[in-house]
């Protein structure tokens, strides 16, 4: 019976992984779902909102779009709006971003000497969102005890759930 439970657990984990990988392929983004971490896009998005992204190469970057990007050398993705674009004939594009709730554009956030973002910095384009749900990830990050509690409860649930 323990064998069955382990198998069951394994199936759940691998299904979750498959869905996640499938999402990555379908959206073209390495990170198809992100959590908003700051208030720089208020009142549209608040800390804890969940964003759904796509990153299809055919989708051109245009002003007004909400992009999620990473600054070279930094891990944390930023969710801001495109303010300016300059695109060459061959499709090469450089663009500037700004958070709705910020007074100035993002040049101050970019790497030293970097004035523009490029396609390679983009993780994805925000296409839809759900409010609040991501707060769980933020809590788990800020309060590791909470994370352990959640994992413990999940483990308990799987053990207790017998067919």
């Amino acid at each position: 019976q323990l064998y069955y439970q382990v198998l069951n657990f394994g199936m759940i984990v691998s299904s979750a992984l498959m869905i996640w990988k499938g999402l990555m392929v379908a959206t073209g983004s390495e990170s198809p779902i992100v959590v908003v971490l700051s208030g720089s896009m208020e009142p549209a998005f608040h800390r804890g909102d969940l964003l759904f992204l796509t990153n299809r190469i055919e989708d051109p970057i245009r002003v007004g779009e909400i992009v999620v990007f990473r600054i070279e050398g930094r891990e944390i993705p930023i969710v801001h709006r495109v303010l300016k674009i300059h695109e060459k004939q061959n499709g090469e594009i450089k663009f500037l971003t700004k958070g709705d709730n910020n007074a100035v554009d993002d040049r101050g956030l970019y790497k030293q000497g970097q004035h523009w973002l490029e396609k390679k910095d983009v993780v994805g384009r925000a296409r839809g969102f759900v409010p609040y749900i991501g707060i769980v990830t933020i809590l788990m990050n800020d309060y590791p005890k909470f994370k352990y509690a959640v994992l413990f409860l999940l483990g308990l649930f799987v053990l207790v759930h017998r067919e």
Partner: protein, 136 residues
């Protein structure tokens, strides 16, 4: 809508454009865009043009957030652009085909985030010469 343009510069060898504009908008006119699932509209005025350096340039000149419940009618006159209208180079001088469009991002309470472009647009020609001094 009328636009008055003049520009000064170049600074750091790039053209800087100055535009003043009027916006009259009645957002609830056709049908109620603020339905039960719309939290806010992010309105923005952008200029689009082509230059020798870049096939496509888009610059947001002005934006505004309209929350559900705000007055849906806009009567803005003699507005100056909120953001500096720098070109990547000297492509504004003599550019006859700078198009201004009003667009908006609909932010729902939950769900899809569509970007809508308004149907009207205005073409703004930039003069062939620079202004030497101008108080802005």
């Amino acid at each position: 809508r009328k636009n008055v343009e003049d520009f000064t510069g170049p600074r750091e060898r790039s053209d800087l454009g100055f535009i003043t504009f009027d916006i009259t908008a009645d957002i609830l006119k056709e049908k109620c865009i603020f339905d039960w699932n719309v939290k806010q509209l992010f309105l923005y005025l952008s200029a689009e043009y082509s230059t020798k350096n870049n096939a496509l340039n888009q610059v947001v000149l002005w934006d505004k957030i309209i929350l559900r419940g705000d007055n849906p009618r806009l009567f803005l006159k003699d507005m100056k652009s909120k953001y500096f209208f720098f070109d990547d180079g000297n492509g504004l001088k003599g550019n006859r085909n700078v198009t201004l469009t009003l667009s908006w991002n609909v932010v729902p309470n939950a769900g899809i985030l569509p970007l809508v472009t308004g149907s009207g647009h205005v073409s703004v020609p930039f003069p062939d010469t620079y202004e030497t001094t101008k108080s802005y």
